[in-house]
Amino acid sequence: MSQQQPTHVADCAAVARLLPLAGHFLLSADESSTLDAHVATCAACRAELAVYDRVEAAWRRTFAPRWETPPLVSRRSMMDILTQEPEQNAPSTAPAVLFTPRARPRRALGSLSAVAATLLIVVLMGGILLARGHGSPASGGTGPTTVIAESTLGDVAMVSPTEGWAVGGSSGTASPAKIVLMHYLDGTWTPVNLPIDGYLTSLSMSSPTEGWAVGQVPLTQPTQSAPLLLHYDGGTWKQVAVSAQNGQPAQVQMLSATDGWMVGQGFARQAAPLGGIWHYDGQTWTAQPLPASLSAAIPLQSAYVSRIAMISPTEGWALGGASSTTPSTSFILHFTGGSWKVQRLLTDVSVQSIAMVSASDGWITATGTDNAPLLLRYTGGRWVEATASIGNGGTLGRLLDIFMRSATEGWMTCQARDFRGSPTLLHYDGTKWSVSSLPSITNTSTWDIRGITMISATEGWAVGEHEVKSPNYLTLVTPVILHYHNGRWTGYTRQDYLTPSPHGPSIEIPVG
């Protein structure tokens, strides 16, 4: 405890904010003088400054470069690069159009085929309002769009061939992130103006007029987020509160307007953990207990539930794992008889997504040892490995989303191997998965497909993101929307990526 006089203690409080900044030319001349004069006479602040110095020295010892030579920087590799022919299209003169679609789809609906190259700069969604808080109406349809240049899309849901929704969030390093919600109507994707911090990870529509989108709002306290739930009811998006103060919803699935499920991790109220599975009865969301038997394998405090696939109100499946176990442990839960039960534990496996065709047929995408793709199928009442049904599994990256329309037709997204290059889209024809042709994106180092949904056997949508390089090599991330029609995928993205402002122009998604 300091033995200084009261006025001196007041000085200590005043210089406390200067202490972390000392020694790096981050203080003004006056501030430096004040600090120097004070620590010369105050042993307590001198000790505090010494603590900062020691902590800083430890940081330096731990993270200072070790001057290892990266494998690439060998003389031969450098010469190989430098002796290549100069590129004709340097980034500074790169074309503004990123996509080179192999073919434009011909739409069956004439009204849609007439809508090409439609753009939104600031589009106001008159019928879509937001109520922040607990349901009080608030304007969401006026003012500038909140969709920003750098953003990503993670999930898409269609309510009809002419209407759908996609969700995501801003992806720039600026904080706080803003949610992204896009509406597809009669041939045009339009960002909806919802000025909410955070980002959305999943949405599910039970009808054209009713649905939910879930995500999270990062809190000031590191590692904690507040759950974010948006309810679309009769043409209005409203933010809905749940009993959890903390939580990170990962997926929502609505069976009807009065029956829905949400899964995620970190749900807690006043530091008391709540379950990773929630049920909606038409009025409120209620946390569901995880099976007690799970605690024998993993600490329930670190358990997360990442995916859910309900077949009916009385039966469904969920995937999850534990972030604290080594090797990583995943679990498959089965909902029958009104409760969740552990169906299977998987060691050294990271489960990603699940799609159930029926009570007796379903698929799970996962990653096994050495990050190898792993595909499981539910058949004959048990989960069995079905990776062999992927023809070129050895060249694939991480399997992500899966969508099954029937037992003989489905789609699966696969991340680019080593996170570089193009993703892979796999199509299931009833016997095997085969690679589907995708449009190519120019001037991108990598891109991903994060969510996929099919309206029919001949039409569907997928969303994701791609990285683009601006002339100054800042990496930007912009959304990708893919449209499947009559056997071909066509891609759309914004065209003015060269503006690296996090609050730059809106997204332009022409749909042909």
């Binding site: 020691r54 902590v55 430890a58 993270f63 990266p70 999270q216 590191p222 590692t223 990170q248 990496t475």
Partner: protein, 156 residues
């Protein structure tokens, strides 16, 4: 780079990618490499900006894979160094956002000024100073929580 992403192997990959970009930029004659007026400082700043953006992108990809917010990716960081101090520092790193960790690393280890860090991470010098101060206090608190014996302040 390790001070941002935590994982040594990933940091090496990111440095390699950054070097590759530098080679390509030099080959194309893209500024700062193609300009006779560019200084070594310009090139250094360019390298760190590219490296920083690649690190943030890599962390964002970790977030996407595990559907965690960027602030939470540190939960998935694997640590190799088993020294007690290294573990304490990395535990402290786990309480920082990647942007905060980058500010600490760029200023403490690489001696960049706030203005230079601002150019690298895309922020004003004032914002960098604020971020640095906050990060260093968090680092101190987390580090002391790991090693209370280090507590040397006479303040309550």
């Amino acid at each position: 780079m390790r001070g941002i992403v935590g994982d040594s192997e990933q940091a090496r990959d990111l440095v390699q990618d950054t070097c590759y970009e530098a080679c390509r930029a030099a080959q194309r004659g893209t500024p700062p490499f193609g300009s006779t007026s560019s200084s070594e400082t310009d090139m250094r700043r360019w390298l760190f900006r590219v490296g920083y953006n690649r690190a943030i992108s890599a962390l964002r990809r970790r977030r996407i894979i595990h559907w965690l917010p960027l602030e939470n990716v540190r939960l998935l960081i694997s640590f190799e160094d088993e020294s007690a101090e290294g573990q304490d520092v990395r535990a402290a790193l786990a309480t920082l956002t990647p942007q905060d960790a980058a500010c600490l690393t760029l200023i403490i280890i690489h001696d960049f000024t706030a203005a230079e860090v601002g150019q690298i991470v895309g922020a004003s010098p004032q914002a960098v100073a604020k971020r640095f101060s906050r990060a260093k206090q968090r680092l101190r608190d987390a580090y002391l929580a790991q090693d209370p014996q280090l507590e040397g302040s006479g303040h309550p």
